[in-house]
C-alpha cells in the first residue's frame, strides 16, 4: 500500500493542492487535513504547506499554532512521524516549537519570487534521505519573511548535530549561515522555505523537488 501524506489546510493556505498533486504524481496517497481536526487521521506523514495561514496576522504562524491539528501533529512528530513544513509551514513549525529558530523579514524588505540553487548539507532528515550531501537542487522560493535566524548557541547546535538540511548557494534573503532548511534533532521534523512541490514536473521548470518528496514518501513507508 502506498504511503499516505496528510496535507494541512488552514484558512489562508494556498499550496495545499499543489503539494497533494505532487505527492500523487510520485505514487503516494494525499489526504487533506483541516486545521480544526483533532487527529492526523492515521496518515503516515504530514506536510504543513505554504500560504498565509490565518492571514499571517500578528506574525506568520502565530495564530496557526493554536489550531487543534497542531497539537495532533506535535504528538505525531513525538512518535517519530515525518513532518515537513514548507514556507509558511516552516514558520508555523517554528512558532509551534517543533523546530528551533524563527523566520524574520528578508534583507532588503523584498518579497522574493524566483528559483534558487540549494545544496544538500544533511541527508539524515526525512526530506533528504534519498539525496547525497553536496547535491545541488533548483527550487522556487516565494516569501517575504523567510530569513532564518536564531541565536549563536542554537546555530552551533544545529551545525554540530547535522541539522542544517539545505543551504542557499547564493543567499537571497539574509538568512543566518545561508540556511534554507533545518530539521529537529531526530530528523523527522523538517522545515524549509523553498517549495519542492513546485519543482516536480518539467513543465514547472525543474524536477529537483521530486527526490525530496520521494524521501518523504520513503520515510512515511518506514514509519508505518
Amino acid at each position: 500500500m502506498s504511503a499516505s501524506v496528510g496535507v494541512v489546510q488552514f484558512p489562508g493556505s494556498n499550496c495545499e493542492l499543489d503539494v497533494m498533486e505532487a505527492i500523487r504524481s510520485l505514487g503516494g496517497d494525499a489526504k487533506l487535513l483541516w486545521h480544526r481536526d483533532l487527529t492526523v487521521s492515521g496518515v503516515d506523514a504530514v506536510v504543513v504547506p505554504g500560504g498565509f495561514a490565518h492571514g499571517d496576522f500578528l506574525r506568520p504562524g502565530a495564530i496557526a499554532r493554536f489550531s487543534p491539528v497542531i497539537a495532533a501533529i506535535a504528538d505525531f512528530a513525538l512518535g517519530g512521524g515525518p513532518v515537513v513544513g514548507i514556507c509558511n509551514g516552516f514558520q508555523v513549525l517554528t512558532e509551534a516549537g517543533l523546530l528551533p529558530g524563527a523566520l524574520r523579514k528578508n534583507d532588503g524588505l523584498r518579497f522574493l519570487c524566483s528559483t534558487v540553487e540549494l545544496r544538500v548539507d544533511s541527508t539524515r532528515s526525512a526530506l533528504t534521505s534519498t539525496t547525497a550531501v553536496g547535491d545541488l537542487l533548483r527550487l522556487p522560493i516565494n516569501h517575504f519573511e523567510g530569513a532564518f535566524t536564531c541565536d549563536q548557541a542554537t546555530l552551533d547546535r544545529l551545525c554540530a548535530n547535522d541539522q542544517v538540511v539545505l543551504r542557499y548557494t547564493s543567499n537571497p534573503n539574509g538568512s543566518i549561515d545561508d540556511i534554507a532548511g533545518i530539521c529537529n534533532d531526530v530528523g523527522n521534523v523538517v522545515g524549509l522555505m523553498p517549495h519542492p512541490e513546485r519543482a516536480t514536473d518539467d513543465l514547472l521548470g525543474s524536477t529537483d523537488g521530486r527526490p525530496l518528496l520521494r524521501s518523504l514518501l520513503d520515510q512515511a513507508s518506514v514509519a508505518t
Binding site: 500578528l58 506574525r59 502565530a62 517554528t94 512558532e95 528551533p100 529558530g101 524563527a102 524574520r104 523579514k105 528578508n106 534583507d107 532588503g108 524588505l109 530569513a147 535566524t149 536564531c150 541565536d151 539574509g174
Partner: protein, 79 residues
C-alpha cells in the same frame, strides 16, 4: 500597552531602510533605528501587579516570538 521590538542582534531591515533614508531629508546623525509595533488593549485585573503578570504571560506565549522579539509592557490605570 505592549511595545514589541526586534531583539538586539536581530537584523531589522525596516529600521535599516529608514535610517538610510533620513539623511536625504537632512536628518543627519540618527543611528540605531528599530521598527516594532504597539499593541494596545484594556485588561481587567485585581491589581496592577496582577495585570502586569497576565500581560507578560501573554507576551511570552503569544504576542511576541521571544526568539526574535522583545516586549515592553506599560500599564495605565483607568479607575
Amino acid at each position: 500597552m505592549v511595545e514589541v521590538s526586534p531583539r538586539a542582534g536581530i537584523a531589522d531591515p525596516q529600521g535599516q531602510t529608514i535610517e538610510r533614508s533620513l539623511p536625504a531629508l537632512g536628518f543627519d546623525g540618527v543611528i540605531g533605528v528599530r521598527v516594532g509595533k504597539a499593541i494596545r488593549f484594556h485588561v481587567t485585573a485585581a491589581s496592577e501587579d496582577a495585570a502586569r503578570t497576565e500581560v507578560e504571560d501573554m507576551c511570552a506565549r503569544f504576542l511576541t516570538n521571544p526568539v526574535i522579539e522583545d516586549s515592553c509592557v506599560s500599564l495605565t490605570a483607568l479607575t
